[in-house]
């Protein structure tokens, strides 16, 4: 019951009118930006990070939490109404949701997505609240070698396990790790890879890299293709779900939640894996198999719930271990670091009020979203019809705003352009971009843990596998690295590439 009283305390922090206002602004902005086609949660969070710079840590993180949930939510609207999902986790939602919209059932599709996200978000956030203190207790017993092994596992799952090529995933990861070496070495103070440029001493900003790869790279890729954009489907009739819709949806919501949360909370891929598995489960369990592929409501309800539950789940390793497992989580970690806060077990001890206020705000943000979204759906749809020149002009202006606001040096803007071109090239040749971002932020942390572990063991490398926990984690990493390679060699790689996403 310890969690319960802490959560109640958190709620009293979060119910402060000013904090409520921050959460409301965050949720609204997050949904508005997340709804825009081509903008996934990672980019939403990266673009809106500058909005929170001027606030105090609590207000900023709570607004940020609202942006995160809002961005996840907005993406489902895009994928149901347009056939170009704004976020990878919504690709599965697009399969059935878009079919429903074509038949004029866009309203109920949006409703089951919204309510399913709410149910999943509520349950998953409560699970997060009750699980987090347990994981923190566990985390306090882990030493540097266990942390290092955990990070290796995160590296492998984010780069090599899913997607259509381990080689390209690992290449992306190593580019991120190489960029992570730039700057002052945390343990000795040696300047690495700065080549005499003082601005490089601080290293490469995660937000600069993320915004460049996701926003500029994407804008260049979209501009260069020039295919006519898919038409949007009008929402006809009411958004109300029939009794039949409810009956078919509620079990899918719950199943989606319990598939999504564990997957999100383990360092084993993000929301896209969860929504894919939920879709597979619904197709297997349905009483209406003939409707699948032609607009089955379970196929929207389950994956949307799984998607949001996984999003809450990724907060478990992020908050308790400081371990980001998706690009979105990596950017959120950067959001914490701008205030000198390092997520991890100590955060729960040193900044308990802040953490529990944040978790409580997630619950509140979730309620705000469902209240806000069902009536405002017409407004979000209007946002979808912004002409592309204005949309991308605005995205680029915002993308550079964040960099200029933090550090208006030509070097920083030059890096933005350079990484933007790199992101464009990576999109052209099927290199995933998320591993670069995760590599950049997790690289220095993994290096520090590795060197600490080796220092404790006086340079003996076998220390890395000398405890059952670290040996098991490294063993699982090896399995996640090798098995997918074998699957692809045997021509069974399609499953893995379907699960992959590049926006999450």
């Amino acid at each position: 019951m310890e969690s319960f009283s802490l959560l109640m305390q958190g709620l009293s922090t979060a119910l402060d009118p000013v904090i409520l206002l921050y959460a409301l602004i965050g949720v609204t902005l997050g949904t508005a930006v997340g709804v825009l086609p081509g903008i996934g949660p990672a980019l939403t969070v990266a673009l809106l990070l500058p909005v929170t710079y001027g606030l105090d840590p609590a207000g900023s993180l709570i607004m940020f939490a609202g942006i995160y949930y809002g961005g996840m939510y907005g993406g489902s609207t895009t994928s149901i109404l347009l056939n170009t999902p704004g976020e990878s986790a919504s690709i599965v939602t697009a399969i059935e949701g878009n079919q429903m919209a074509r038949q004029g059932r866009g309203g109920p599709a949006l409703a089951t997505a919204a309510i399913g996200s709410f149910v999943a978000g509520l349950i998953a956030t409560l699970l997060l609240a009750f699980l987090a203190p347990q994981v923190v207790k566990l985390a306090l017993t882990l030493g540097p070698r266990e942390y290092f092994a955990l990070m290796v596992l995160a590296f492998v799952t984010v780069s090599a396990t899913f997607g259509d090529s381990s080689l390209r995933g690992l290449t992306s990861l190593f580019i991120g790790l190489a960029l992570a070496c730039v700057g002052i070495d945390g343990l000795t103070g040696a300047a690495r890879l700065t080549y005499g440029v003082p601005q490089l001493m601080d290293g490469i900003e995660t937000t600069t890299l993320a915004v460049a790869l996701f926003a500029i790279g994407e804008a260049l890729a979209v501009a260069a293709i020039r295919e006519p954009p898919d038409g949007m489907h009008r929402v006809r009739g009411s958004v109300k779900m029939t009794g039949e819709d409810w009956r078919r949806s509620w079990k899918a919501w719950l199943r989606g939640t319990f598939i999504g949360f564990p997957i999100g909370s383990m360092p084993a891929g993000g929301a896209d894996v969860a929504s894919f598995l939920s879709y597979a489960a619904e197709r297997k369990l349905t009483k209406h198999p003939e409707e699948f592929g032609k607009g089955a409501i379970e196929g929207v309800a389950g994956p949307e719930a799984a998607n949001n539950a996984a999003a809450a789940g990724t907060l478990v390793p992020l908050l308790t271990l400081g371990l980001p497992t998706t690009a979105t989580a990596a950017i959120m970690l950067a959001g914490f670091q701008q205030f000198g806060l390092q997520p991890g077990p100590l955060l729960f001890v040193m900044n308990a009020e802040l953490v529990w206020g944040l978790i409580a705000s997630l619950l509140i943000a979730n309620v705000m979203l469902v209240v806000l979204n069902l009536p405002l759906i017409g407004l979000w749809i209007k946002l979808l019809s912004i002409p592309r020149p204005w949309l991308y002009g605005g995205i680029l202006l915002f993308a550079t705003l964040g960099t200029i606001g933090v550090n208006a040096s030509p070097v920083e803007l030059g890096m933005l352009i350079l990484f933007g071109v790199m992101g464009y090239g990576m999109r052209l040749y099927g290199y995933p971009v998320a591993p670069v971002v995760v590599g950049l932020i997790l690289g220095p942390m993994a290096e520090q843990q590795l060197r600490r572990a080796l220092a404790i063991a006086q340079g003996d490398w076998t220390t890395l596998v000398s405890t059952p926990v670290s040996a098991t984690l490294l063993g699982i990493s090896a399995v996640f690295l090798v098995v997918p390679m074998l699957m692809r060699l045997r021509g069974r790689g399609q499953v893995l590439s379907q699960v992959a996403g590049d926006a999450d």
Partner: protein
């Protein structure tokens, strides 16, 4: 967004360019690591060692990229239109060059206008005009209300401090 695998299995020049880029990055790291003082302490692993491991990893990946390129194992991108890409890059470079000369609002308006032009919006002056209004609003909200420090130029002085 690129297409999936192409059935053609001809060697791919792009793969060799990518591999060269990876090897070049590895070389940059190794040259830098050679110049670092080796200060491993108890760990026996100093500041130069992890970059070296990363560099060797990059070299290995470069070799594998060459092999996969020989087997034609790289997605074939659809035909690219160069003009829109150049408009957008031009807008970004213009903003970089002019930011500290004319301030955030005008350089941002140029970036917006040139990006919109890249996406087919004509004429350019109209797109820049829309950009001017938008970046004025952004400057007002972020610099004045949210205390972000955006570089000002003559226009910002005239409107916000005059």
């Amino acid at each position: 967004m690129s297409e999936g695998f192409s059935p053609e299995r001809r060697p791919r020049r792009a793969a060799f360019v990518i591999a060269a880029g990876l090897a070049g990055l590895a070389a940059l790291i190794l040259v830098d690591a050679a110049g670092l003082k080796q200060d491993g302490g108890y760990a026996g692993v100093g500041p130069a060692d992890v970059p070296r491991i990363v560099a060797y990893g990059l070299l290995g990946l470069a070799v594998m990229t060459v092999v996969s390129g020989l087997r034609g194992d790289l997605p074939r991108p659809p035909r690219q239109a160069p003009a829109p890409v150049l408009w957008i890059l031009g807008g970004l470079v213009a903003q970089l060059a002019l930011l500290h000369v004319v301030g955030f609002v005008i350089s941002g308006a140029l970036l917006f206008g040139m990006t919109a032009r890249g996406f087919g919006q004509r004429p350019l002056w109209k797109a820049v005009a829309v950009g001017l209004v938008l970046s004025l609003v952004i400057y007002g909200v972020f610099d004045r209300l949210l205390k972000l420090n955006l570089p000002g130029g003559p226009l910002e002085l005239l409107i916000f401090r005059g």
